[in-house]
Amino acid sequence: MKVRACLVPALTWLDGENACDILVSRMANAHGTAAGEQYRVLLDYLEKKGIVVEPDWLERSGLDHQTIATQQRQLSFMLDVLGTPERAIAAQQRITEAHVICFGLGAVGGWLVRQLLGLGFRRFVLVDHDIVSQADVARHAFFDATDAAVGAFKTVAAATWIREQFPQAEVVAETAALTTQTKLDEIIPRDTSIVINAADQPYIGYTSVLLSRFCVQRRLPLLVAGGFDAHLGSLGEMIIPGITPCADCYADHFSEALKDWVPVEHPVADRREAAGGLCSMSVFSAGAAAMQVLRLFTGEGMPEGGRGELLYDSYKLDSFTVTRRPECPVCSRI
């Protein structure tokens, strides 16, 4: 924009201490009434654009004391990205009230929940059937050597830690496996805001299809996290029923793309103990997934079909698009 030269240094007057009327008259005294009025118009414009903001916007936000105390830097971020205090505050409120269910508390699931706690999410259902093993301590968010020594259930150990460290959190620990027998309508609460799939046993495609068929029916967003044993650098996808492809669309896409690519039976029958992983890779995948969740709650950016892959060699990020299947038996009718 183009403004009179005398208005530019006056931007440094905006320190939150003096009311605009006082600043406008200071301008009028220095450069005349017309300059004062132009300064007022400029400030109005800058406020509408979200470039200047009232200093007590947080105190007047209606957010609870704890949220303001812990989330001031995040609210600054959201103000920058969303442009107005109203939108930033509304997004934080949606986060506080959201009900999140996470299937799978492996490295990625655990670090994702840890980051969601940082973002201010408070209400969780955590689903996993496994116990903490010694090798888990080398890459998990919530477990320490003691949990491994006593063989605690992952859900219970994580829920205990969260309740101790985040007194505002409400956590339900569901120690259960995710199979075709799982009664999803009993485990997934009615008021769920988002379902997260970080369960990769027997493999991520299998558990995603199970959850996606349920979520499409209920019109629930489903985040399929990335970073699993099949490829540590994969980034996940957000599934929004009726908007993005569903897990069946993804499964069909890949089975078609890979139809001529059929490995022989692997000579090593039990490959479970041989999975590799690095804590930093899990944290990266969890971070990218957490940003997808944040995008959903801020309404910033439309989720599209596709998947990304980080190549560890060079940190190159490959991505490819997946579209909805017009003939998909699960999601094509909505």
Partner: protein, 360 residues
């Protein structure tokens, strides 16, 4: 050494795929690397028998694959991380670090993984600044098997730190280095961790610390006060003198997460080389631009930004510590940006600058 009595197996993360004719693909799922071989039928069959139980001799007898040729083939596939020695597999499966060991096995042939992991455990990492990025990076390093950490920070935990760091409500008021050291010790009781409640603002102080630290040490700069530029210049001065590698953790700028440079003194571009190039790149845009003085500036930040920046910094420290040409540091002579809103990565090349004089 691979000999007729060796027991090897196809690595569990590798798929063996017939491509028609005598063509075979070996696809490494994690690295997305693949190798194609033309294999006569008996050799393809022999490889499919490599489950770690049978010796090469036994497999050769069963399938009719000529032993000498089979041994040479196995040698090549082991060097490409397609096969692994069964004694490695058994050892890794029993180790609490098996995830890390199997990860290393994607890049380093199985016979060399134990030595590589020992280099990682022996490395002392000096973490300057354990705020948001530093708390994540130190935790990731501890969980990756780095055996010795020095944590340097003078601050105490405040409530407003909790949204993005790994500290929690019960840590408020504690020194950051103390709270973090306690947590890391619970994760790995064998970790040697030294918390230093001080601000490292003088390159002489850091140089002294490096002198005591021994040769296998790496500095990771996660300190942003007064600015990342100021702390990086200080780190560079000390590390150039001590020939210690350092990683600049980066930071964040709106929706961008910066991935900083990895500097190997005398061998790669240093912080100042990078600064010179960045100044040139920005030159035209910034002519006549004046920054408003805003002392009350409170820049936005949140957990995933800090975590992702830290994860690249931790990757780089691990890669430097391994000192193995098969998995070299990836941020030498460049820096990167990860865009959270689009999940895109962008890199800027920052080559060594002759006028800097850091490489003689």
């Amino acid at each position: 050494m691979i000999n007729p009595s060796s027991r090897l197996r196809l690595r569990p993360s590798v798929a063996m795929v017939p491509m028609g004719g005598e063509q075979w693909q070996f696809f490494l799922g994690n690295t997305r690397r693949s190798r194609q071989y033309r294999l006569r039928q008996e050799f393809a069959l022999a490889l499919q028998q490599l489950d770690g139980q049978l010796t090469l001799m036994e497999v050769s007898n069963r399938t009719g694959a000529d032993l000498e040729h089979f041994q040479a083939l196995v040698h090549a596939l082991h060097a490409s991380c397609i096969l692994e020695d069964d004694s490695f597999a058994q050892w890794a499966a029993q180790s609490p670090w098996r995830r890390v060991l199997n990860f290393l096995g994607d890049y380093i042939p199985s016979n060399d993984v134990q030595d590589a992991f020992a280099r990682l455990s022996d490395t002392e990492v000096i973490v300057l600044g354990v705020g948001a990025v530093g708390s994540w990076a130190a935790t990731e390093l501890c969980q990756s098997g780095v055996g010795r950490l020095v944590l340097v920070d003078k601050d105490t935990v405040e409530t407003s730190n909790l949204n993005r760091s790994l500290y929690t409500q019960s840590n408020v008021g504690q020194y950051k280095v103390d709270a973090l050291a306690q947590r890391l010790q619970r994760i790995n009781p064998q970790l040697v961790v030294r918390p230093l409640r001080q601000m490292m603002s003088d390159s002489d102080d850091l140089a002294k610390l490096l002198q005591d630290a021994g040769p296998a040490s790496i500095v990771i700069n996660c300190a942003d006060s007064p600015s990342v530029d100021a702390t990086s210049a200080m780190v560079d001065a000390a590390c150039q003198r001590a020939h210690t590698a350092y990683v600049i953790a980066g930071g964040y700028n709106l929706h961008l997460s910066l991935i900083g440079m990895t500097v190997l003194p005398g061998k790669s571009a240093c912080y100042h080389c990078g600064r010179l190039t960045l100044e040139n790149l920005q030159g035209d845009e910034l002519v006549g631009l004046r920054k408003l003085a805003r002392p009350w500036r409170n820049i936005g930040n949140l957990a995933p930004l800090a975590a992702i920046t830290a994860s690249f910094a931790a990757n780089e420290v691990i890669r430097v510590a391994l000192s193995d040409s098969r998995i070299p540091p990836a941020m030498v002579n460049r820096r990167g940006e990860f865009n959270f809103l689009t999940s895109e990565m962008h890199f800027t090349s920052l080559p060594p600058r002759p006028e800097c004089g850091c490489i003689s």
